[in-house]
Amino acid sequence: MPIVASVPILVILVLMIGFRWGAARAGAAGYLAAFLIAAVFFGAGPDALAYAHTKAFILTLDVLFIIWAAFLMYRVAEEAGAIKTIGRLLPSLTRDRGMQALLIGWVFASFLQGAGGFGVPVAVTAPLLIGLGFSPLSAVIVPSIGHGWAVTFGSMGSSFNALLSATGLSASTLAPASALFLGLACVLTGPIIAHAVDGWAGVKRLLLPALVIGVVMGAVQLAVAAGAGLWNLGAFAGGMAGLAVSVWVVRWGGAGTGVERSERKPLLLALSAYIILILFTVVFLLIPPIKNWLDQVFIQIQFPETVTALGYVSPAGSNRPIHIFTHAGAILVYTSLVSYIIYHRAGMYLPGAGKCILRMTVKSMMSSSLSIALMVAMATMMQQSGMTEALAQDLADAVGKGFPLIAPWIGGIGAFMTGSNTNSNVVFAGLQKRTAELLAYNVPAILAGQTAGAALASVAAPTKIVVGTSTAGMEGKEGEVLRALLGYTALLVIFISILTALASFVGL
């Protein structure tokens, strides 16, 4: 049975890696395989399949609300030229090439991941780095490695939200370990970028500033996501703090040239959308009377118990409530509307920009929305029919005590094959959680390994590499980029494996 249960996942893996299918088509094939196997081999009746679909749709809405709204906000800022302004002013802070790589390929790329994601960090920063004289290969691999640590809590926390929805666990349970693992990976990322640009000489020269920036970004993400409970702002706040501390670091190191006074107003205007986002998040999520009043409207459905023909019982229960007006997606929508008005009044839009923003958002998001809907439906059917349980039992028997070392690689493979930390969490988080429970391991630590491994490996996914190569004029050289990325990515995932094992065996 476990072999049959693994077929939907294998179908996606083989079609995406072996046959280079897109996520939507491969997701559809995986969905069909799961549907067939659940009904024929695991005895799932129409009731179990029906409830699985409704559960999947609610989970999909929860995930897509953030993804759509985050992309809308990114388009609002991009169409106004705000991203270009920030990207143009950053290199002027320092003439040191290594520091420029850290500032643009790591700090700015992480900030972009926190605010938007969706391949934007590499697409925006690779041309900037080439313009500064970096080789196209360096221009692609530096931001690719640079933003990996920010993926889970980036895109306004969409991947972390998928982890919450797929496992039914609370943010306060999962955020501390996840943010800690990724924060430590952030500290390691700085020296890795220095190595990628200038070899060991670069590591030696830039170690101190890289450590200072890395510790600040990682600590701020941990404090915001786990301490303050604002997991949707974790990577964004880390990126913002990174931008602020970088200015201080380059001045302190004597390599700074500063931003001219005439440039300060455009920079402030460019950053206004992000300042509003922080304000709205604080107002809507941290002021109890406002939050409680808005939280009255939510979607939560009670699902009955279902039993398959093989006797697998899926217990009765309800989904994690979706609070419509305080959802991270809703806050992004409010921010997008106010930012649009500000940029519009400042004359930063060309005629027809509003329509263009909406059209681009719908067009860009449709394919990924469908792939998420199909993969979520596949994962939910697998859970409802007992396929996930069968796989987890088999995995627990096969790897036993070594599971904490394996868990991040499962997440990593999921992200590598789907090109997405979110998709990996949707497909594998339930399996990882159940296997950890069967082996009596610390569930938050294993799930932190899942999402951190997925985040760091997602940057090497072929679908993401194509975005980088196409913006850097390296079309057809994806293999070269993959080879350059694999060593660094593997190093980071090994690091996460060690952390997961330490947290599971020793307690961290």
């Binding site: 559809a28 969905y31 549907f35 129409p46 029906a50 679909h53 449709m366 199909l374 439906a377």
Partner: protein
Amino acid sequence: MLNNKFNRHLTAFVAIALASIFLYPLAEAGLMMYTWSLLALAVMAALLTLLTK
């Protein structure tokens, strides 16, 4: 209309969304014939996603 990839994906997404929404009340009411029909709609949407032309 379905020659266009965007339209195919939009149609498939809407079909899956509608099927998923209405499956809950149908399953609650025990209307298994209608439940199977909507499950078939979701499967058709997945098959539509597989098409390349």
